[in-house]
Amino acid sequence: MTGLRGWKLVILIVVVLASSSLAFAVQNDYQMQVLFRIALFAALGLGWNIVGGYAGQLSLGHVAFFGIGAYSLALLTKHSVPLWVSVLLGAIIATAFAAVIGRIMFRLRGPYFTLSTIAAAEVLRLIATNSPFTEGAIGVATPALFTGRYFWKLFYLSAVTLATLTFLINFWVSQSRFGYYLMAIREDEDTASAVGIDTASYKNRSLLISAFVTALGGSLYASAFQFIIPDNVLTIDISLQMAIITMLGGAGTLLGPVVGAILLLSASELFKNRFKESHLLIYGILIVVVVLFLPEGIVGGIKQLWNWIRKKKAPASAGATTA
């Protein structure tokens, strides 16, 4: 087990170094911006994965935390809170918000839980749209965390940092009792409580971690695009994207969200340039194909293929016997 662990960390370091060096190789601002979005959504997917993948709670309201991160940065800095302090405060506010709504939403199971997450995010969107405090639908300007000619490079590197951090959290989850408890909850809540797991409390804890990193992502996004409106940073589209990226790549796997973000965002960018408006159609077809043929996502599918090959090689003890 430790050998495998070492391997995974080596791969991680290589991937992080390679993706960081992209910042020096790519000179085009547009490409840099696309890379920023890929890294950011890899981080968001990994954050979503803790709740939606490991704990198996299909949240479609994660944009709430994203939006809180974005609006905290905009509104706190307007009241002369230092830039990076606002980023951190935003994440803390989002975590506090998660603690409150988690207690309510996790009373519900399955599709009812999912609907309640959508509702929570929509309530925030409506408040942001109608409150003078957030300047409603007109939107607010957000300060840039970085300026100058390395603008996109620096944003890209911070997104890679956030993705790495979130990956390490996922890695810890996958190797710990905490993660095992989340997976038990995903598989069967009754069995989980029969082995002494306080299911409500563990679901809540997973949401807190997830909300924290999602809000950091929201701040980064808001700061990079320098202007936010509710329909932009509190739209259900972003929630859906986090979920789809993770499920496409493989929910509950370490690499799934990363693979999903790279594939989905680069595909949508390519199609957007080549097919103009019909790119959404292709995007949709891609999702349908994956859901139909790879229900466990790309990484899950590869894992299955790998197990199948291994079994073919060593058929000796295959098939479960009852002794």
Binding site: A194, G196, T322, A323
Partner: protein
Amino acid sequence: MLSADCCEDMSVVLHLENVSKRFGGLRAVKSVSFEMNAGEILFIIGPNGAGKTTVFNLISGFLHPDEGSIIFNGRHISRLAPHRAARLGIGRTFQIVKPLRNLTVLQNVMLGAFMHTGKLNQAQEEAGKIMDFLQMSHLKDFPAHGLPLAALKRLEIARALATKPTLILLDEVVSGLTPGEALALAGLVKRLPEWGVSVVGGVEHVMQVVMKIADRIVVLDYGAKIAEGKPADVVSLPVVIEAYLGAKYKELPK
């Protein structure tokens, strides 16, 4: 019926006193009382719908009684949440097996062991011992969803045993198995007290298993206790025969 000082006796692990549970108009459990001692194997038997599973759910905190009290190791547990009951030392299996389907057998058992250790390798070691005891170590890397029922029944026991309970509830532990599988599993259940647990089993009709391994039997019918005692005595009682086979058989000679 039972003296009030019952609960100070340390050898009494579990004591149900006039426990009742209603579901709407249906009285699923009617004023059931019994107690059991440390290291004992007690089986609750009764025809389909007699209330066995409800009793298990009441003891393990998945349901709470409307009346009466449940005392476990001298503590009232009638209102405890399931995970708290589990942490106090009540392990359970489910009648309709509930494995963690996409996890391997080893991981399933480790989840039980995690109650007492946060370390992965320690949990793995604990799980290994228990899988050895239940003769299922050769299955450890298989995902639970592919296993046949006999292995799943063992997995349920293994997972519960890994939490190091002092009381283990085995709901319909041999139902759906072939006679051979059932007897093999019964042999293992009989050895469970070696692990420091008392056993409450529930069985609908696999009587030869019960006769072999139970120290004592409680018979339920329509939610009420109709008999209690040693297996050989209980099965020949007219009320028991009547509950299982109907009134016209109770006069038949042995």
